[in-house]
């Protein structure tokens, strides 16, 4: 692949997906596309769900765009991107992450591009209320650090890699005290260090490991969800201990096409800085 194309492929993908989005507006039920997680896939805040992003039905194209800001004691993470759902079957997403690590090295910003795809395999999380079967999807996230030198310097074996995951999502109408409940279990095969911002693989472990990711949310009303997520992570780098991510979130859909998610995130030790807790704010346009 020549370097010009490599440089251009991300903006090209964004432009292509934006065009696909303008083509049609979706008619799925309010909030059933979820939010976009921090790596760009349709889901919660940190966990991809089996739902296909946007409001597109089996005959429509839908999608969403998001911007997320996470702020902890020592770090800031900005993430933004676009996801397009084709026929409630295939989701394609692009996202950019910018991780401000000035507290470790003054002026240091780590940037990563993520291209994702998710395919619904079976099930209907919303309508299959007479069945225990969840909606199940499989997905990939290809991640590429724009500066490969930094991941390598911290002991990672590579600056780019691909995560594979399978997600099962189920909505239980009137599941808890009359409120609708959403449950999600994702299993991710990954060798990413801090989602990939510190590269992939390390001296402790260089191969992929299987990590579970959970989400549980209660819909207080049709447009307000209160939930929590927990994401187990590998711990590949001897120099930089890595811990699980978790969050408690409130997602509000004041309008069909607009959502705000506010979360309290516990991100553990990152790049040698322990107990990184902070706020997570995400805004999303859904189509």
């Amino acid at each position: 692949m020549n370097s010009n194309f490599r440089k251009l492929r991300f903006p090209l993908a964004v432009a292509g997906l934006a065009c696909a989005l303008l083509a049609h507006s979706g008619d799925r039920l309010l909030a059933t596309g979820g939010a976009q997680q921090v790596e760009g896939a349709g889901g919660g805040g940190i966990v991809p769900w089996a739902l296909i992003a946007g409001y597109g039905t089996n005959r429509q194209i839908g999608g969403s765009a998001f911007y997320t800001h996470v702020d902890t004691q020592d770090f800031k993470l900005d993430s933004y991107g676009l996801a397009v759902g084709f026929f409630d079957l295939l989701e394609v997403s692009v996202a950019k992450q910018e991780f401000d690590a000035s507290s470790v090295v003054p002026g240091l910003k780590l940037k990563m591009d993520i291209v994702g795809a998710k395919l619904k395999v079976f099930g209907d999380a919303v309508y299959d209320q007479d069945s225990m079967l969840p909606q199940v999807s499989v997905g990939v996230q290809n991640k590429r650090n724009t500066n490969m030198a930094i991941p390598t310097a911290v002991g990672a074996r590579s600056g780019s890699d691909t995560d594979f995951y399978v997600s099962a999502t189920k909505l239980w109408l009137a599941g808890f005290m009359g409120r609708n409940v959403l449950g999600n279990l994702t299993l991710r095969a990954t060798r990413a260090n801090q989602m990939g911002l510190l590269g992939f693989g390390g001296d402790k472990k260089n191969s992929r490991s299987l990590q579970p990711e959970l989400a549980l949310a209660v819909l207080l009303t049709d447009n307000l969800a209160l939930g929590a997520e927990h994401r187990w992570k590998p711990d590949n780098l001897g120099a930089f201990k890595e811990e699980d991510f978790s969050d408690v979130f409130l997602a509000w859909f004041p309008h069909r096409n607009f959502a705000v998610t506010l979360a309290w995130a516990r991100l553990g030790t990152i790049a040698g800085k322990p107990k990184q807790d902070g706020t997570y704010l995400s805004v999303q346009l859904t189509h």
Partner: protein, 144 residues
Amino acid sequence: MKPLFQRWACVLAGALLAACAASPSAKPALYERLGGEPVVTRVVNETIDRAATDPRTSRSFKDVKLARVKEKIVEQICSLAGGGCKYTGDPMDKVHKGLQNTEAEMNLVVQWLRDALDRAGVRESEKNELLRLLAPMKRDIVTM
């Protein structure tokens, strides 16, 4: 990692206990809690009137006796929600055969049903219970 998982487990166990404690043994049937025939009739009338007039869904209601459709839907909800009625209409797959209803059309009608339930003052929990009973009908209604 362990303590957090334990905390989750505690929250979940606590929630389940609360749910068990909160459900009284002699809860009235859903139909009664919805408000019985007056409320259900009002909700069904509003929903079907909207569906029959909105250009996005009206095609499926052409040449249909709306009064009968409404009556049969009320009867079916009464039957499903423990109101003691017997549904005397045709099976849902037969009723919708050949209409080629899309998911988009179905979702619109569901949204109007939710709106009508909200307007009628039906509580969140009763609304969700009713939707849970009706949701599997999508398989018989949507064929496209």
